[in-house]
């Protein structure tokens, strides 16, 4: 039985051998499989089959055959190497590594075994183990630069950076003309930041291979790290001469130019890179920024628009475009952003402490400013302006003189001339009316001014009163000068009395003015009523007659009228011997002061509600 099997197996082997040698490999493999199945424990048959499977590219079968052989003769170290090779070919990396380690561990003096095991472990991503086998191989052939480089790479990957760099140097020293070793060493040195050594090494490499553009690119990086951007630029320029189509070189060059501050050239370089590699987003973003920095805002905007159209959701592009727009609109973002941050504060200017004196000074300043302003705005609507202030009393005096000159047959009640007589009535009356009415409008007409903090309602009301006083005094003086020019004797006999009379009537007018200001603020129609009252007072104040002409009972009532008192006081200063018994100067002053006091108190009390700016 066994004999027949052995015969058939031997036949199959022979047939397989013949077919193999005559080039019919597939048929040969078929017979070899038959033989293998017939005699799986026959060493000679299995060895033959393994050889044929291996050469016939049936690595799975070859691996199985080698393992069978190793089971039959465990001392056959080389069998592990063969099995490992076969398993590696079919991607069974773990089994391949197992056999490779068996081979190398059992024959540590074989450089090939160690190298093979190292290679498989590298492939499997186990650099630390790979490094130990590669180190074994390297110890056996110390002058092999390529092997040292592989060992260096494995060590680097395993994290032993210093050792890796030392070995990279050693690898390069074995054969300084080897570009691959040189690049490897330079790469590691650059990554370690050892740019001086990298530059040295790359310099030598470039001397040996002047057309090595990749070395020039690395040299440029080394020079940049050495903070020598000019040399870096020279190196990358040379690299670009050799290989002008490499987008990465252009990007690197653009980065260098930006660092050197040459934004225009950087934008140019980014442009060239973008033409070679249009799909690189971060490159386009950098190009946009460089255009901005170079001040080429048109191009920046058109590029930004193009990018945004292509990728509307890209935040970086949007940010870049916004920056370009801001630049175009002239808003220096940095300038605005830094407005508050890091502001250097200076000490505050000292203010003098507030005292009664400074308060008074402030009050006077405010009144002064308001008076000047009021002077200019008082009659701003009418073209006639201050002419009206003069015209009004003149018209009154002329009218009265005309009417009563006819009625009274040419003689005024006192004095010698109608003009003077009516003047003495009109001036105190107008002073009273102008002041009290003018002050009632002060708040309404100065509304916006009350927004200026130092200006209070008291200030604007009082300023208006002072303005009326000043205006009417000037008018009074001008009229007197006019009368004198006409040849009338018009100089008052008692200047002090005249002034006191006007001042007293002004005081009570001020009091009524404050009352009116308050009343008008609460009751808009009040100023109309006040206008009617002043018209009535025109007839009750002895302007165009003397109270002496009145019946006693009527005169006793009218004597309470402060204007009448003021008119008679005023006349007493003009006309010799005119000093009527009902004239009570004290009454006028006291009554004026009382009214003023009440007016001021009301204003003070209700100040918060006098003006609501809405």
């Amino acid at each position: 039985m066994t004999g027949a099997v052995a015969e058939r197996a031997a036949f199959c082997r022979r047939r397989a051998e013949e077919l193999w040698h005559s080039g019919r490999h597939q048929e040969a493999l078929g017979f070899a499989r038959l033989a293998f199945d017939l005699q799986p424990r026959d060493e000679e048959t299995v060895r033959f089959c393994a050889w044929l499977f291996s050469n016939g590219q049936d690595h799975a079968a070859a691996g199985a055959a080698y393992e069978r052989l190793l089971a039959l003769s465990p001392e056959w170290i080389e069998g592990h190497r063969h099995a490992s090779g076969s398993f590696a070919m079919i991607g069974e990396l773990e089994r391949a590594i197992f056999h490779a380690r068996q081979a190398s561990d059992r024959d540590p003096l074989s450089g090939e075994f160690a190298r093979h095991a190292g290679g498989l472990l590298e492939q499997a991503g186990r650099p630390a183990e790979a490094a130990s086998y590669l180190a074994r191989a390297a110890a056996l052939s110390p002058g092999d630069g390529a092997l040292l480089r592989r060992l260096s790479a494995a060590l680097w990957a395993a994290g032993a950076r210093d050792k890796a760099v030392a070995l990279a140097w050693q690898a390069w020293r074995c054969d300084p003309g080897d570009r691959e070793s040189a690049h490897h060493a330079a790469e590691l040195l650059l990554r370690c930041g050892r740019c001086e050594e990298a530059a040295l090494l790359l310099g030598e490499t470039i001397r040996a291979h002047p057309a090595d553009d990749a070395a020039l690119r690395k040299l440029s990086a080394a020079e940049m790290l050495r903070a020598d951007p000019a040399a870096a630029l020279a190196a990358i320029d040379k690299a670009l001469l050799l290989s002008p189509q490499t987008a990465e070189y252009h990007i690197h060059r653009a980065g260098l130019l930006r660092r050197l501050g040459d934004c225009a050239a950087a934008a140019e370089a980014y442009g060239r890179a973008a033409a070679l590699d249009p799909s690189n987003g971060s490159l386009r973003r950098a190009q946009l920024a460089a255009y901005c920095d170079a001040g080429r805002l048109d191009e920046a905007l058109s590029l930004g628009g193009e990018l945004i159209r292509a990728a509307p959701d890209n935040r970086e592009y949007a940010e870049g475009l916004r920056h370009a727009l801001d630049r175009r609109l002239g808003a220096a973002e940095a300038d605005r952003g830094a407005l508050y941050a890091g502001l250097l504060r200076l000490p505050r200017r000292p203010r003098p402490p507030r005292t009664a004196g400074t308060a008074l000074a402030t009050q006077l300043r405010v009144l002064h400013a308001l008076l000047i302003r009021e002077t200019r705005t008082r009659f701003s609507e009418a073209r006639i302006g201050y002419g009206w202030a003069l015209l009004e009393p003149v018209l009154h005096i002329l009218m009265l003189s005309l009417v009563f000159a006819v009625m009274m047959h040419g003689r005024p009640p006192i004095g010698r001339h109608f003009f003077i007589f009516y003047y003495t009535g009109i001036i105190p009356y107008h002073l009273f009316v102008h002041t009290s009415s003018g002050m009632s409008h002060a708040i309404a007409s100065n509304g916006p001014l009350l927004q200026v903090p130092p200006v209070s309602t008291f200030d604007v009301v009082l300023a208006r009163g002072l303005l009326e006083l000043a205006t009417d005094l000037v008018v009074a003086v001008i009229l007197l000068a006019g009368f004198t020019a006409l040849g009338l004797h018009a100089i008052p006999r008692d200047l002090g009395g005249v002034a006191a009379a006007l001042l007293s009537v002004w005081l009570s007018a001020c009091g009524f003015g404050f009352l009116n200001a308050v009343a008008t603020a609460f009751w808009k129609g009040w100023d109309k009523i006040w206008a009617q009252i002043t018209r009535i007072l025109y007839f009750c104040s002895g302007i165009f007659y003397v109270p002496a002409a009145m019946p006693d009972r009527v005169r006793d009532i009218l004597a309470w009228n402060p204007i009448l008192q003021a008119v008679d006081w005023f006349r007493a200063g003009f006309f010799q011997g005119y000093d009527p018994h009902w004239l009570d100067r004290g009454y006028l002053v006291i009554a004026g002061l009382w009214v003023l006091l009440i007016g001021l108190a009301l204003e003070r009390r209700l100040r918060r509600r006098l003006y609501e700016p809405l």
Binding site: L329, G330, A331, A332, D335, R336, G337, L339, Y340, L343, L344, R345, L346, P347, R348, R349, R351, A361, T362, R365, V366, H368, A369, L370, I372, R373, R376, T377, S380, E381, P448, L449, L450, Q451, V452, P453, P454, V455, R607, R608, Y611, E612, P613, L614
Partner: protein, 221 residues
């Protein structure tokens, strides 16, 4: 420092009195820039007028030991018949500033040219704003009150405004009423939120802004 003690202020409206401040006590410490946050109609402008002294509170006391500006961005103090120069002269007299130097500064800053000598009612709105802004900057205030707008005019002029403000802020503080977060963040380091008659202070502007945001979102406005 501007100190409010028990300050109340309300307005008559059609639906009754509306309280802008209800018994508010707060200190605006010197050396800090405050951002006052509040919805439209919360009374930010009224608060600024109270701080300025343009308006008086219904109750309570406002103490100032500093010189406070009139609310910036307010052009209503101008009388149409007066020229720019007359207005600036008035303000200079009012605050005791040198008249000629102040006028020169304003004429230069506002870029009004010969309009500076013309009546204000010949001005455009922009020119009025420039005049008001320059007037405010020309006077040596310790605290600037700003109502919404801190920069006016075209881009270039806005930058000039910001620059001038930066210069002023080395000595002076600002109190800024706005709901523009960006401006507040740029200028202010402290904040206060005005809502429903109360004024809540915050020592840190970011917290104030966050709080205000959640408040206005929560309030559905």
């Amino acid at each position: 420092m501007i100190a409010l003690a028990g300050v109340s202020k309300s307005y008559r409206t059609r639906t009754g009195r509306k309280a802008v401040l209800d018994n508010v006590s707060i200190d605006f410490a010197s050396g800090h820039n405050f951002g006052i946050l509040g919805a439209n109609g919360a009374g930010k402008s009224t608060l600024l007028r109270l701080l300025a002294g343009s308006e008086l509170p219904d109750r309570g006391v406002i103490r100032r030991d500093v010189r406070v500006s009139f609310p910036l961005g307010f052009g209503g103090i101008f009388h149409g018949a007066l020229s720019g120069r007359e207005h600036i002269g008035f303000l200079a007299r009012l605050y005791g500033a040198p008249i000629r130097a102040t006028c020169e500064y304003v004429a230069d800053f506002s870029e009004l040219g010969e309009y500076f000598e013309m009546p204000v009612n010949t001005y455009s709105a922009g020119m009025r704003a420039r005049l008001g802004f320059a007037a405010c900057l020309a006077i040596d205030f310790d605290v600037f009150l700003v109502d919404e707008v801190i920069e006016i005019g075209d881009r270039r002029f806005r930058r000039k405004c910001a620059q001038a403000f930066r210069e002023r802020m080395r000595r002076a503080d600002i109190i800024l009423a706005t709901h523009n977060h960006e401006t507040v963040r740029q200028y202010c380091d402290r904040g206060a939120i005005l809502a429903n008659g109360t004024l809540t202070p915050y020592d840190d502007i970011d917290t104030a802004l966050r709080h205000y945001q959640s408040l206005s979102e929560g309030g559905g406005r």
